[in-house]
């Protein structure tokens, strides 16, 4: 950090920004190495260190190397972007570093083999925004991810960070802030979609001086990881959003509740807290104003139900995370019985941009009732997995095919699952659906926190329903019986169906139970728990019927209903399945069609997944 002295007023912040920017003019080239969890898993930190070492060795001291937050295109990691040209390298390894430094840094040449090749056009993409995965995105929440070093508040300030807070503290009343957020049409990105401005207003209107703000970073939906990337990659944007919200609501203390599984998010948030405190952007009399505010991190301990507001509050208080009856709502009596406002990470990260660029600008993006952008985690059976930020109203087809590149191995698309365990599966016939809060719900899905899990012809929808119910049985807190017993009962019926023991009338029984559980559960976990079953029944009823009546699993997933066979015409005798079979059930000579010994086969499905020629078939 350049300066560690407190900023006495908004003018100090502006001068600090000027000073940082002035100091950076000489550094023309910057190497940004993605240090998100995905790229780290593929060795990006070793890469980062190697760049540092190589640059030092070659005495290239004016070149900056930056470990940034997640760039989003995890599938192709580790990712490296060379600024200012934004040359995009993918799948970079430590051994590539000397070549990149020699060619690109020293001689402004491109290392061809590290460029992304568009599978559709077979053309190589030089720049980040030429890559189809990025070309259709609009990065508002992810404005800084991939550009700034999240452990350096200077980087955030240089990118106009905390300018919105300064504006709020010097020029806006609390009412004006709420008005602007309301007019922008921002809705909660955690799943509920409740209008953020109205939520703040309700909390502000409560009597009493002691109020709390909470950031829900308990991203529990399996398949969603955008909040993680924001907390890891741009923690200050969350803190700035929370500070602005607290000013509007009249709160002076806040908590960020971070999932147990996100240690890097805790580390980067802690660094951001420390740095913003030392600059006086948190703490007493922020930027010399009358407003004082501070934030504390609470680590979650692993419970899906803690994503629910009242359960989360209980957990912050150190209790078992079990939900409470509402009303009273947290806005009336939340943390320690005081009015409390909870928003999720992505919602908070939107706030500074809305203040900065105005409500009209924000409301200019999206659909009639869903404004702005949404970050989706595009994962599962799709070519380009990663984090995708698009304006609300973008169709599922654009996301899955134009950005996601479609389904790997030329297999057929079956469904996209949205909204986590509370959501549902959307079939191919609805792919042209513009994604917003209302449209997804109408289709039997849900916005949720934004997980989009793509499924292909080899995904069994009954198995998917069973998977989610097993998840919910595990995560039900056990407080109310409709959820505790009902979901378990539904799960056992599904188990029986996939085992080939489904009975006539099971589908109707599932529907009946679903209605009870939905109606009578205490919180939204139970209230939405039947959704995975209902939505798969709605769109894929024939698969249930095939399991129950014909004792077949059309996708070849449910092992009790499947026998694997080798298609002799397709088999090239490569031996891959033979090598991987745990029970030596695959027999045959090299380059000759193989066979599966049904007696030895334990139906683990390894050969079925393995075969590069799709020669193993499920019957």
């Amino acid at each position: 950090m350049t300066v560690a002295t407190r900023l006495a007023n908004a003018g100090d912040l502006a001068s600090l920004r000027q000073k940082i920017l002035a100091g950076r003019k000489s550094t023309k080239i910057a190497i940004s190495v993605c240090a998100g969890t995905g790229c780290r898993a593929q060795g990006s930190m070793e890469l980062f260190e190697e760049f540092q070492r190589e640059l030092q060795e070659q005495n290239l001291t004016d070149v900056e190397v930056r470990a940034t937050g997640c760039h989003g295109f995890c599938e192709q990691g580790p990712l490296v972007v060379i600024f200012p040209r934004k040359i995009f390298y993918r799948g970079v390894k430590v051994k590539d570093v000397p070549r990149i430094v020699e060619k690109t840094i020293r001689n402004n040449e491109v290392v061809d083999s590290l460029l992304f090749k568009d599978p559709a056009t077979k053309k190589k993409c030089l720049l980040e925004n030429e890559v189809p995965f990025y070309a259709k995105q609009q990065r508002i929440v992810f404005r800084n991810n991939g550009k700034i070093d999240p452990t350096q508040i200077d980087d955030y300030i240089a990118a106009d960070g905390y300018a919105a807070l300064a504006k709020v503290l010097t020029k806006m009343s609390a009412e004006q802030v709420i008005e602007q957020v309301s007019q922008a049409g921002l809705r909660g990105r955690g799943g509920g979609g409740f209008p953020t401005g109205r939520k703040w207003d309700i909390c502000r209107a409560q009597p009493g001086d002691e109020k709390y703000v909470i950031c829900n970073g308990d991203e529990g939906d399996p398949g969603a990881f955008m909040d993680r990337s924001i907390m890891e990659g741009d923690p200050n944007s969350v803190l700035e959003g929370m500070t602005i919200g607290a000013y509007a609501i009249g709160a002076s203390r806040a908590y960020i509740y971070v999932r147990a599984e996100y240690p890097l998010a805790v580390t980067n948030l802690s660094i951001a807290l420390e740095q913003s405190r030392s600059l006086g952007l948190l703490g007493e009399n922020i930027l010399g104003s009358d407003f004082s505010f501070d934030v504390e991190i609470v680590r979650g301990a692993g419970a899906f139900v803690c994503g629910e507001e009242t359960a989360l509050i209980a957990s912050v208080q150190g209790d078992i995370g079990s939900p409470q009856q509402r009303p009273p709502y947290p806005a009336q009596a939340g943390l320690w019985g005081k009015p409390t406002n909870i928003n999720n990470v992505e919602t908070w990260a939107n706030v500074p941009v809305i203040i900065d660029k105005g409500s009209k600008w924000f409301a200019g993006m999206g659909t009639e009732h869903s404004k702005g952008t949404k970050v989706f985690s595009l994962v599962g059976k799709v070519l380009n997995t990663g984090l995708v930020e698009v304006p609300m109203g973008t169709t599922l087809r654009e996301i899955v095919y134009d950005i996601g590149g479609g389904i790997p191995k030329k297999r057929k698309f079956k469904a996209v699952q949205t909204g986590g365990p509370s959501g549902g599966c959307i079939p191919e016939s609805l792919l042209d659906l513009p994604v917003d809060f209302e449209k997804l719900t109408e289709a039997g899905g849900m916005m949720g926190s934004g997980g989009l899990i793509v499924m292909d012809e080899r995904t069994c929808m009954v198995d998917v329903a069973k998977y989610f119910l097993a998840f919910l049985v595990d995560e039900s807190c056990g407080k109310c019986s409709p959820c505790r017993e009902g979901v378990m009962q539904m799960h056992s019926i599904l188990c029986r169906i996939v085992q080939g023991e489904g009975r006539e009338g099971d589908i109707e029984l599932l529907e009946q139970l679903a209605a009870y559980v939905k109606e009578s559960s205490l919180c939204q976990l139970g209230g939405t728990a039947p959704n995975p079953v209902l939505s798969t029944l709605r769109h894929f009823r024939n698969e249930y019927e095939a399991h129950i009546k014909d004792k077949k699993c059309p996708a070849g997933v449910c092992t009790a209903l499947v026998e694997f066979e080798v298609d002799e015409e397709l088999c090239k005798g490569c031996g891959l399945c033979m090598r991987d079979c745990p029970t030596e059930a695959v027999i045959g000579e090299k380059k000759q069609p193989h066979k599966i010994d049904v007696e030895l086969c334990i139906k683990c499905g390894v050969c079925y997944e393995d075969c590069p020629f799709d020669a193993v078939i499920a019957k």
Partner: protein
């Protein structure tokens, strides 16, 4: 459970747990935070340790035990020298995580949630690690392995020493 002592387990020194609890109590931090730090210190939460923490925090033992069993990140069993965690999130599930977990169970000879008798390996499945783009994901002693195939499992197991 409290007071239950197995002959094979050495007496556990609970003084570190008491110290951690006392420190947090002075700062007004919650019992969950105390248990998290105590687990980091000991690797797991034994009955003796939970008793000591409850006493130090002046709460009933049942409260500490309740939290330790409610939240999934707490373990009442010692973990192995190598702790292997298989992500069972939706993205990993549709890409065959169940097969990966089954293979690990077969290869290590323990079921998910168990620790081998020699305390060498422990295996656990988690609901989502948030590295969904890389599914199926296996984490071995905090090191992430992405896009894991059954062949990778052979290598992962062979590398455990």
């Amino acid at each position: 459970m409290p007071g239950e002592k197995s002959a094979s387990v050495e007496e556990i020194d609970v003084s570190a747990a008491r110290k951690i609890a006392a420190g947090h109590r002075a700062q007004g931090n919650s019992l969950v935070t105390v248990l998290q730090d105590v687990q980091t210190e000991y690797g797991y939460l034994s009955g003796e340790v939970l008793e000591a923490v409850a006493e130090e925090m002046e709460v009933p033992f049942s409260q500490a035990y309740g939290l330790a069993t409610f939240y999934s990140s707490f373990s009442l069993q010692p973990r192995g020298k190598h702790h292997i965690c298989v992500c069972m999130g939706t993205a990993c599930h549709v890409r065959g995580a169940a097969n990966i977990l089954e293979k690990l169970e077969r290869d290590l000879g323990i079921s998910s949630g168990e620790t081998s008798e020699d305390l060498k390996h422990s295996l656990e499945s988690v609901n989502c690690l948030g590295a969904c783009a890389l599914g199926p994901v296996v984490v071995v002693n905090d090191a992430y392995h992405g896009k894991v195939s059954s062949r990778d499992v052979d290598k992962i197991v062979a590398d455990l020493e």
